[in-house]
Amino acid sequence: MTTETIDTAAQPVPSSQALVALFRSPSGAVGLAIVGILVLCAIFAPYLAPHDPLRMASGPRLDSPSLAHWMGTDQLGRDVLSRVIYGSRLTLMIGTIAVGISLTAGLLLGLVAGYASGWAERILMRIVDVLFSFTEIVIALACIAILGVGLVNAMIAIGIASIPFYARVTHSIVLVEKNKPYFESAVAAGAGHLRLIFIHLLPNVIPTLIVIGTLGVSTAVLAAAGLSFLGLGAQPPQPEWGFMLSSSRDLIARAPWMMVFPGLAIAITVLGFNLLGDGVREVLDPRQRAR
């Protein structure tokens, strides 16, 4: 085997170069800016929020947006702006923990299934396919039915619900990598199972999963907001955006600002992660850029 036959397409772009490219792509730059602002909001929430997000009667009840309360107040007189700012902490936590759970489990499952081949692979992927067709919300509901209502349980439920998706992606990458010369030569050199999986396959799977994980944060944030909206996730008095929307429902006519701002916060966050994901994909896959 000559060195020319070794595929170099999967070689990762050097990180500094990738970051510059990310800033040059319009969607990547906007996405990065939104996510950056969100992270800053979460870190500096106590300094940015004008009021205590949990303190009732920070102002009059259901007060419309004013200089004192930029986003108005809710039915308990709490400052909506402060609650939205503190909500960024919960949202980022939900997004990263849920994606962390599904990424880790999906990665392991996909690696094992793809590496094992034969009947083990077929059974594992068949189960994954079936779970995938159930859709995430139904799996999440099943998990909450088992674990009970609450924000932590909702996070776990969303994490579990997305495992089939990550397992599928990992599995398909492993199938490609297994036929590459570097892997075949490692097998020929007599590398053990664990070495083949963790030293040879894993590093080649991770770059793609990072892209998908970025996009996955937006799905997780949407799902968590949905569960909290239904009352299955965050519980009072947590300043969670989905939950804030659900308490605004009966007051839409009287206090539309209670509905507008938390929803806007969710949409902008999800947009940020979607754009960032698109940008990262453009950087890693130049074919997309030509379009």
Partner: protein
């Protein structure tokens, strides 16, 4: 074609079969005693709890329970709902038409709006129109469905007063279907655009143009017909997403479908109803994907003739 149909039906049956296994395992994963959790809202004696446990077969080994459950399911018996004190299947079937109406109407809206937006963006690729359409689409993808629902409710029912809140009749169908349809139109617009761009670049389209065929004819006869194939292939997944989305949207608009029932069941810890819902949902989605696969085969002769 027959082989294709049999293959798809078998795959659907496997999905439903795996669902029965998962649903049996579900109740055993509940931390604590599922019977006591289910009946925590009722006054029950220990003897009654044991009687219920025996009746549900929860005192048997798990594999026996599974075969008991499978046997009952095959006879169309999904058990009794605890809160409603009614057979689960009856409750689900009673509520399902409302959900089906909601999802099918929404899917049509999504296909028409999203399909035309994506087609238009691909046709005007690289122009301001394309950029505008895709900005709209990514905004739509990022918006929580239920938030869109609340906005439409505020705008059309409260601010403009055009549609009464929960008035019943066909008027009450407008807002939920618009919400679910438009939210999914955004996803379809993105898919359609990339599918159509691939088609526009292909030789047969260029040849058709070069032959001097009228532009409209090339677009509709050649490009759109081939473009439909990958789009229809996506519809199975879209239908599943819509069914999932309906769970949340039904709760926004107090729409009495299976989705609202499912949430009530989760709150009440009504395990027979939750199990029944999951099995029912899996069955509907599996059968719908068979129907969509057939449509796909009809559109794409390569599949019809078994290549």
């Amino acid at each position: 074609m027959l082989k294709f149909l049999v293959q798809r039906l078998l795959a659907a049956l496997v999905t439903i079969w795996v669902a029965t296994i998962l649903v049996t395992i579900l109740i055993h994963l509940v931390p604590g005693d599922p019977v006591r959790i289910m009946y925590s809202g009722f006054q029950t004696t220990d003897a009654q709890i044991e009687e219920i446990r025996t009746r549900l077969g929860l005192d048997q080994p798990i594999y026996i329970q599974y075969f008991m459950y499978l046997g009952r399911v095959l006879h169309g018996d999904l058990g009794d709902s605890i809160v409603g004190a009614q057979p689960v299947l009856d409750t689900l079937l009673q509520r399902f038409p409302a959900t089906l109406l909601l999802t099918v109407t929404s899917l049509s809206i999504a296909v028409v709006v999203g399909g035309s937006l994506g087609f238009f963006a691909a046709y005007r690729r690289g122009t301001v129109w394309d950029f505008g359409a895709m900005t709209l689409a990514i905004a739509g993808v990022s918006m929580p469905h239920f938030w869109l629902g609340l906005i439409l409710l505020f705008l059309f029912s409260m601010y403009l007063g055009w549609i009464p809140v929960g008035g019943g009749g066909w008027l009450s169908l407008i807002l939920p279907t618009m919400t679910l349809g438009l939210a999914n139109a955004a996803v379809l617009a993105r898919l359609t655009r990339s599918a159509m761009i691939d088609i526009f670049d292909q030789d047969f389209v260029r040849t058709a143009h070069a032959k001097g065929l009228p532009k409209a004819l090339v677009l509709y006869r050649h490009a759109l017909r081939s473009g439909l194939v990958p789009i229809v292939a996506m519809l199975g997944l879209q239908f599943a997403y819509l069914m999932g989305g309906a769970i949340v949207i039904e709760n926004v608009f107090a729409w009495n479908g299976v989705g609202r029932l499912a949430i009530q069941a989760v709150f009440a810890r009504d395990y027979p109803l939750i199990q029944g819902f999951i099995l029912f949902f899996a069955t509907v989605v599996a059968l719908a994907s068979v129907v969509i696969d057939l449509l796909y085969a009809w559109l794409d002769p390569r599949i019809r003739y078994g290549q």
